[in-house]
């Protein structure tokens, strides 16, 4: 790992699980929200916030013990942390680096902010958003979400 070992010590090493590095500074708690982690499930989680980074100036970092992310989860992470790198750790070794790619659509993870949108009215459908270059758009009502995207995460 290229990071300075001193910085790396700020959050403890994990044995088996996932290290999500290079998260946009300030988005760590939203990342946990996407993963459905709120502490109540007993997961062992380390979070570094506003850690110095050569690449990003400041970054957040999240380490989750005993949990490997699915590609769906990685896709959604990409919406709020497009520069994130995801390392799968087994027995203290990084065995896999997952790619963060922006998906074409995300379903069931964001709620539409338009109160008059049919997707918010108890119909038997999941919310569904098209992923644009710098925003997402509801496929039902065409509403575009850009700056306030983390607030719309519904997981």
């Amino acid at each position: 790992m290229s990071d300075n070992p001193e910085r790396e010590l700020r959050v403890s090493k994990i044995r088996d699980g996932t290290v999500i590095d290079h998260i946009t500074a300030g988005q760590a708690l939203n990342v946990l929200a996407i993963l459905g982690i709120d502490g109540s499930g007993g997961e062992e989680v380390s979070v570094g916030m506003n850690v110095p980074s050569d690449r990003l100036g400041r970054k957040d970092i999240v380490k989750v013990e005993g949990r490997e992310l699915s590609q769906d989860e990685v896709d959604v992470l990409s919406l709020i942390a497009p520069a994130a790198s995801i390392n799968i750790v087994r027995d203290y070794e990084v065995v896999e680096k997952a790619r963060v790619t922006r998906p074409t659509f995300v379903s069931g993870v964001l709620s539409c902010p338009n109160a008059n949108c049919i997707s918010t009215q108890g119909e038997p459908v999941e919310s569904r958003f098209e992923v644009l270059d710098d925003a997402v758009r509801c496929v039902y009502c065409d509403t575009i979400i850009r700056e306030d995207l983390p607030e719309r995460i519904d997981v």
């Binding site: 338009n114 008059n116 949108c117 049919i118 997707s119 009215q121 108890g122 119909e123 038997p124 459908v125 644009l132 758009r137 509801c138 496929v139 039902y140 009502c141 065409d142 509403t143 575009i144």
Partner: protein, 302 residues
């Protein structure tokens, strides 16, 4: 048309539009037929007598028939049935469904649950593509569809007819001017699409600066309920009202359109001028909807 459903004007290509308008012109001349076995479902979750009657008439002039859900108050919707369930039931009775609904995205949702074609006849502040087809028919008759400068004025934020028209016009060589109060500008999604297509678009808060350039002025109503207080509404509404005197600054052959019903945004004295085209526009609804239904039901014309 190759589409199974007509949800948004964004789906329509120039070829689709010209196909429907040409067919509409021939229906206007010669009448229709050929759909004696077809039944059209009319699902109007909010009242719109005019649009509903125009679809009803169009289907009957094609030789087919319609079934009508009736008013929301008298139907199972009142008991809390989902839209998804309602359309699945009605799709079992009919060959196509016309849907008007107060929520954005209703037609899109309905199309995910049925095999018969869904025609969006207005979904909240979203889209109203069949209105757009009759608007384009009227514009083509009066001003042509290329090398056209069009002003679209009024409530651009909630005006679904505007959203659909703006999208459809990007298929043609048009310059679009949007005139509205700051608070009722085009929504972000519509502006995004116009930008993506490279459309020539400008936004204004006053009509005066663009009126002399326009070939077509499309006026929509600013609704009182969009404003928290009555005074603010009065202040704004007055600026977006036209009368015969306003139009003295316009080209002689300016075409003035309105999706109707109007309240007072176009003064009655405009009706007497050669600019007034809104009643003709309304009449065009039947042949255009005949052409659309004919195409979607795979009828006589194809």
């Amino acid at each position: 048309m190759r589409h199974d459903h007509l949800i948004s004007a964004k789906q329509l290509t120039r070829q689709d539009i010209e196909g429907v308008l040409d067919r509409a012109a021939s229906f206007a001349e010669d009448g229709g037929g050929g759909h004696e076995d077809h039944l059209l479902g009319l699902l109007f979750f909010e009242p719109s007598t005019r649009t509903k009657m125009s679809f009803d008439t169009a289907m009957k002039r094609l030789g087919g028939d319609t079934v009508d859900m009736g008013s929301v108050e008298s139907s199972s919707v009142k008991k809390g049935e989902s839209l998804a369930d309602t359309v699945r039931v009605v799709a079992g009775y009919t060959d196509a469904i016309v849907l008007r609904h107060p929520s954005e995205g209703a037609a899109k949702l309905a199309s995910e649950f049925v095999d018969v074609p869904i025609i969006n006849a207005g979904d909240g502040a979203g889209q109203h593509p069949t209105q757009t087809l009759l608007d384009l028919y009227t514009i083509r008759e009066n001003a042509g569809l290329d090398d056209l400068t069009i002003g679209i004025m009024g409530d651009l934020k909630y005006g679904r007819t505007v959203h659909s028209l703006a999208a459809a016009l990007t298929n043609f060589d048009t310059r679009q001017h949007f005139i509205s109060p700051e608070s009722l500008r085009l929504p972000r999604g519509v502006r995004y699409d116009l930008h993506e297509t490279g459309a020539q678009v400008r936004e204004h808060t006053g009509l005066e600066e663009v009126l002399p350039e326009l070939d077509v002025l499309y006026v929509t109503r600013i609704q009182r309920e969009r404003f928290p207080d009555e005074n603010e509404y009065r202040q704004v509404a007055g600026q977006y009202r036209i009368d015969a005197a306003t139009l003295e600054a316009a080209k002689d052959d300016l075409t003035v359109m309105h999706p109707l019903p109007r309240v007072d945004e176009i003064a009655a004295d405009v009706d007497e001028t050669t600019h007034a085209t809104y009643f003709e526009q309304a009449h065009n609804g039947v042949p255009v909807r005949m052409a659309l239904l004919d195409a979607m039901l795979g009828g006589g014309g194809e």
